[in-house]
Structure formats: C-alpha cells, structure tokens
Amino acid sequence: MRPISFIAVSIAFVAVFFFMPAAITHAAFGVSPPFVNADHLVPGSTFTQTIYLVRDNADQDVKIQASLQLADPIKNWVSFDQGSSFTIPAGMHQFPVTISVSVPKDAGLGIYHGSLTFNTAPASAGQVTIALGAQVEINLTIGNNVYENYVVQRMTFPDIYEGENPLVDVKFENDGNVPESFDSAVFELYDQYDTVRLAYVQKNDGFPTTPAFSVKDYELEFPIDFYMGVGQYWGFVTFYKNHQAVASQKTVFNVLRSDWWSRFIRYVAKEWIWLLIALVLLVGIVIAIVIRIRRSAAR
C-alpha cells in the first residue's frame, strides 16, 4: 500500500518546475527580403533569388531549421540550397540562402503561393525557451507573356598593361523572362585630363547573352588603333540595345608598365590555363607512377 499511496500523493501534488537561469544570448533575427516574388515566369523557366538570414549578435553559431510550406502543384518546383537543417557560423551576420524555382514545361498558367520558414534553435535548455523565426512568402505567377527587364549593375574599367586594348567589366542582371544582350557599344578614350579624345571604337558583336532571371559577369575588349603607353586615361563607354543607350560609364583607368614576365603570366592565364592545369596533373601522375615503380623495385 505504501508505494501506491506515495504515487497517489505524488500525482495529487504534481509540480512542474521551470528553471530560471537564462543562458540564452539575445539576438534579433530576421530575413531580408521576406518574399520571393517571381511574377513573370513562363513554363520552362528557372528562377533563383538569394535571401539573407540576418542577426545582430553573431558571437555564436546558431542552428537553423527550415521548412517549405507548398501545396501541389508547386511542391516540387521550389528548392533551396541549405537544406532543412544548417548552422550559421559565428561571426556571420548575413547568411545567404538561394531559393530556386524550376517551372515545368507543362505547367499550367496561374498564380501560386507558398512560404519558407526559418527557425533558430534556442541557445539553452531547462526552461520554456524562446526560438525566433521568420517567414519568407513565395509568390509565383506563371504566364505566357514576354517580359523584358534588365539592369547593368556594374561597369568598371580594369587597369591594363601598355599595348593592350581597353577592357570593360560588366555585371548584367536580367530580371526578365527572355535572354538579353547588348546590341552595340561605343568606347571613347581620352587623355588623363579628359580633354583630348585619343580614340573612338564601335563594337557591334561579341556581347554575351544573359539568360532569363540570372546575373552574368563578363569582360569586353575594345580593340583600338592607338598605342596606350604607361599612364592614366579616361574611358567613356556607352552600351546600346535596340538603338537606345541603356548604360554608360565614364571614369579613369591606368595603363601599367609591362615586362616580359608579367606579359607571359597573363598570356598563360588567359590562353593556356587548362593546358597548364593538365600539365601539372600529368606531372603529378608521372611522379606517382615513378615512386610506385621505385618502391616495387626496392621490395
């Protein structure tokens, strides 16, 4: 009887304890931006967007649980690169997560919604701990219209070596649902005081195409009939599409002294890089074989 009565008493006076100590490190948590709005998808489109999980206090690692809430038919269209469980390392305030949407070619037109949630794991146990979370809305519109929207995010003139042609680095962001490229471009070269035009070149081909919903970085060369010696120059580039100027940049760049060794390195890096890699691999394999043969002979 005694054990039974003890249990009964215990049940009658059950106590629930929640410990007070709070070892948790407070940190604000969120997501930026909190939406993926893909409004101009067409059947067969692929779309990617990077969102950032953000926090103010990055002293510690933080574990994240992520889950997609999607209904048919888009359940299998959406994915993200980090998986359902991952860790944001200490020191990192902004953690990128890339969300991809692949619309099947036989997808029906329509508007679809879903969400992706991220929850932090509480940093301590022993109480009713509080975890923070944030939700990313996913809004997809599948249509059949052509949508053009692009922006040139960057145009820079890298320094070059004497005797080389001017270069322009371009970052082309295509937010539309059709591939895009420039039609033509004009490059004007001025002296270091931006007063005397030294060269003018029009380029009508050789522009890379940026696929729909993507960003592409590339470098364009503008061959000119003018030897640029060491010094500083002004470059002025204008890009055209459908005979309209769509982007331009004017700034200074440097022409550096070129010795045979740096020319050689650049030539190898540009023209022979794969050959060089293959050569290194080949030498490695040969060395390994020789070592193996010698060891076999030694035995």
Binding site: V14, F18, G30, L132, Q192, D194, Q232
Partner: protein
C-alpha cells in the same frame, strides 16, 4: 687661290671668335642690364571630376536587424591640377532614398532615408591627379526599403559625391546604378524564457501572466506567429501544447487566451509598425499554462517559436 682660301678661313675664324667673344663679354658685363626674352604658361584652375561612383559595391543593400550596417560609397576623384588639390579639398557624400532628392538630403539629413558624410577614406594613393575613395555609412536597421514589396517601391537608394577644391571649384557625380534597399523582416524578443514557476497538477497559472516583449528589429510592419517547436516535456511525460495560452492583454487563465498550437498561428491584434528611429516599437504577449490532472511531477521544458511575418 690657295692663299684666298686660307685668308677666308682666317677671316671666318676671327669673325666667329669675335662674335662669340662679344656675346660672352656682353653677357658678363652687360648681363645685369640686358633684356631677356622669357616665355610663360599660365596653368588655369581646372575643375575636379568625380567619376565611377558605386553604391554598396553595386549590390542591393541588406541590413542587419536591430543595429547598423556599413554601406560603402566608392568614387574616383580627379583633378588636372594635381593631387594637392585633392588632398586639400573637401568632400560631401550623400546616401539617400531617391524620392528624397540630394538637395533635400543635404539640408535635412536623417537616419530614415538620408545620410551625409563630410570625409572619405583614400582607398588608393593619389596618382596623376586621381584618387580612389571610399565613404562608409552606418545605416540603421529601420532605413526605408525600396524593393518591390516595400512602401517606397518606386524609389531606390542613390549616392552623390560632391568634391570641392581649395580653389572653390566643384565636381560631383551620382552612383551608377542606384541600388535597392531590401525590406528587412526581423524580430527581437527581450525576454529569454517564459518561466511559469511551480504549479501543482490540476491547476493553472490563474491571473499570474508571464510577459514576453517583442520588438520590431526591421524596417517593415511585422505581425507575429506563435507555435510550439517542442511541447512541454519531462522525460517520457508531456503536457499538451494547448495547455499554454497567450493573449495580447492580461488574462486570468484561460480567460481570453488562445491555446498554443504546434503550427504557427498569427496572433490577432498584434502588429509592430516599422520603426522610424532607434526608439523601440514593442508589444507584449501574455502567457499562462494549465497542468492537467494526474500529471506526473518533473521539470518540464519546451520551446516556443516567435515568428515574424511580413505584412
């Protein structure tokens, strides 16, 4: 004929010697009073040029919650009069939402949509009258978003670099391209735990609510979703998730409280508007719990999720 040639040569040498000698004598004796023909070039004052202005390294601006985020404005400043003009000049760098305009920003800076700096950091040594510069702004977490779902979606963020030389000539340029400032959805909970204390079986927290304060750590209006990530558990024993209740006002359990669920539920009457200053935009939720009858003793632990929802 031979003598004539010798004579001509002698005359030539003598005349030349006399002329050269005369020149040097005149330079020596009369130099102080002679008139020299000099040439001069007046180097005019050239206006400085500002170029290659880029904002946040040509990427959309992503803010950190509840704190500031460094945003760079890079530019190249050139002056045909040389580097001394640049090193002794003054600069004004503006970072602002395009709807504000640079002139308004210049006269009334604020942390919501307009930042002004009066110095840059040289990011290269000045060479041939050209200097690469960087200006870093500490942008607040509540700075206004301009992306597609923000309230200022027709705007973007721009940067203007104005440079003035000691000669009072100026040059300026805007960032190309402008950049979006992303909407930031973020929450901060200033309470680390919900501590219900000690309760007996078949009892509840009554009028003793536990208070959890949430603050908006982003730049948009936020609502709140609540759920249990892990229900209250002690070994093999659990207290049902629905035993916890919450409300946006005080209550006597269960009163006006809403039972907690395993799936996120949006809290009615809870809305945190976007902050406009470092003053917190906060709202409290009140919590209570009931312990079922016959619940075994133990230390019950669980985790509740406070999830921000963009509104």
């Amino acid at each position: 004929m031979k003598n004539d040639a010798r004579l001509a040569t002698a005359v030539y040498v003598i005349v030349s010697t006399v002329m050269i000698g005369t020149f040097f004598v005149s330079q020596t004796i009369l130099g102080a009073t002679s008139t020299n023909v000099t040439s001069q070039v007046i180097v005019g004052i050239a206006a400085p040029a500002v170029s290659a202005v880029t904002l946040n390294h040509s990427a959309a601006i992503v803010l950190n919650p509840n704190t500031t985020t460094n945003v760079d404005v890079n530019a190249t400043i050139s002056d045909a009069n040389g580097c001394s003009e640049i090193t002794t000049g003054t600069t004004t760098v503006l970072l602002f939402r395009s709807g504000v305009t640079s002139s308004t920003c210049l006269s009334s800076p604020n942390t919501l949509n307009c930042y002004v700096a009066t110095a840059f950091t040289a990011s290269s040594s000045c060479s041939s009258g050209s200097q690469n510069t960087t200006t870093t702004f500490a942008v607040q977490y509540f700075a206004q978003g301009t992306d597609v779902s923000s309230t200022a979606s027709s705007d973007d963020w721009d940067a203007t670099v104005i440079f003035r030389t000691p000669d009072n000539t100026t040059g300026s340029a805007d960032a190309n391209p402008h950049e979006e400032l992303n909407t930031l959805l973020a929450l901060n909970v200033t309470t680390s735990t919900i501590n219900y204390g000690t309760l007996s079986a078949n009892s509840n927290s009554g009028a003793t609510d536990q208070v959890v304060t949430s603050t908006n750590a982003g730049n948009c209006t936020t609502s709140l979703q609540l759920s249990a990530l892990q229900t209250l558990t002690s070994g093999a024993n659990t207290i049902p998730t629905s035993s916890q209740g919450y409300s946006t006002s005080t209550f006597t359990y269960p009163g006006t409280s809403t039972a907690l669920t395993g799936s996120p539920v949006t809290v009615g009457g809870f809305k945190l508007v976007g902050p406009t200053s470092t003053t917190n935009v906060a709202q409290a939720t009140f919590w209570g719990v009931a312990v079922p009858n016959n619940q075994p003793t133990g230390t019950y632990t669980g985790t509740n999720v406070f999830q921000a929802l963009f509104q």
